[in-house]
Amino acid sequence: MDAEVNSVKMAGREFDIEFNLLIDAIYHMYHYDFRGYAAASLRRRLRAAMIRFGCSSLSQLQHKVVHDAAVFPALLDFLTVQVSEMFRDPAYFLALRRHVVPMLRTYPSLKVWVAGCSAGEEAYSLAILLQEEGLLSKTMIYATDINSGTLQKAAAGVYDVDRVAGFTANHHLSGARSSLSDYYSAAYGRAMFNKSLKDHIVFSDHSLATDSVFAEVQLVSCRNVLIYFDRALQDRAIGLFREALCRQGFLGIGTKESLRFSPHADAFLNFVPTERIFQKRAEL
């Protein structure tokens, strides 16, 4: 490990130059735009990718990415995938249940956008919560991500069974009205979530960096995605959420994320401040 760590160390300036060249190359070849991503996390992920692909410099990695089409999807996993949990931060889901669900009940039909859904844990969590609150039958959840490989996994809804104990504990703390085991079947060390949930989730490819709004929704949940963006890209994403939300629609973001620095902040009320749930103002 020591030798590997050393072999990928290099002068910071060279790394930064090659870093920008690689990000540009990915944008021009594959139309994935990482130029507005926070560099610190991306640098760390790219260092890990260099080890995985046996490259001693980002230039070498760039050569592989440009000349071998099979490399990019694997690299994309390094750049995008985060392992989440179902009902991560149970207090957030409890706040949705207590404060947002009563408002959602007033709509004849519901659309929810889970932006940056990764492997689907949050989309399924929301589907279960809405089922428990009697709202899922009139709801469509749009779960979007830029990684099509991850979206396929999300659509399959299959998770290692050893993660389910953690999911169950979180679910319980979220104010559960049923047992999580009602929603999956376990076999061969895997838990597969039910079709009754999947029928209300559409997983699709969407980039907060380059795409536009695709539907009007009553709730956007986008948690621990904005921290990977720089301020300008955060603004773009928050602008999309503002545009997608109906008047008095709701936006939930991560515990350590904020609208404070965004020019769109004035468009939102601080609805549940402790859980970072905002409501789009009616008068806008």
Partner: protein
């Protein structure tokens, strides 16, 4: 060891037994300190972190929990929030991540130290304190390889020595010292000049 004029930032990593160690070190930071101080302490994942509140009362310098995309202020102590990695980015500014735990830890000391080594290079001081796992060893080696100054708490004194022993094994640090002598080093760090202070 006198670090006057050598250090632009300090990173500290601690785990089991680390809070007692920090209670000795952080009050040694003088008012008007120039380098910012970034700290990762491993804590159980569930309760909200209250470290900044606890240490703000004991310190002569500002102590805060790090916020995402916050510009780094001189002489301020930043604690990584619970359940997020803390990284330093160009600017310098702070950046949080929800990436996988490293050595079962989020925040991870390695993640903070490696990111800070990239930004501050040879002008970084890294300190590993008491702890019961091996997080921080790779990060401290990265600081050493970038030409920075590395200090490890004396394993005899550390309540849980595994973390300092792992760091010692990977790369001999510049100093292995008891806490009171690490505190003496912190007292040699630069303070902002009268002109800067007026701005």
């Amino acid at each position: 060891m006198n670090l006057a004029g050598r250090i632009d930032a300090v990173v500290i990593g601690a785990s089991a037994g680390g809070l007692e160690a920090l209670a000795v070190l952080l009050p040694a930071l003088a008012p008007g300190l120039s380098p910012p101080v970034f700290i990762v302490v491993h804590l159980p994942r569930t309760p909200p972190s209250v470290l900044a509140e606890i240490f703000a009362r004991k310190c002569a310098v500002p102590v805060r929990e790090a916020e995402d995309k916050e510009a780094v202020s001189p002489g301020t102590v930043y604690f990584a929030p619970n359940n997020y990695h803390l990284l330093v980015d160009r600017g310098p500014q702070l950046s949080l991540s929800a990436d996988d735990p490293v050595h079962h830890s989020r925040p991870s000391i390695d993640v903070l130290f490696e990111s800070a080594a990239e930004i501050y290079g040879a002008r970084l001081l890294g300190i590993i304190l008491s702890g019961a796992n091996e997080d921080g060893a790779v990060g401290l080696a990265a600081i050493h390889d970038a030409g920075g100054v590395t200090v490890v708490q004396s394993p005899k004194e550390a309540r849980a020595p595994h973390m300092v022993l792992s760091a010692l094994k990977l790369r001999p640090p510049d100093r292995v010292l008891p806490l009171n002598e690490i505190a003496d080093i912190l007292r040699t760090l630069d303070r902002v000049g009268p002109l800067e202070r007026m701005n």
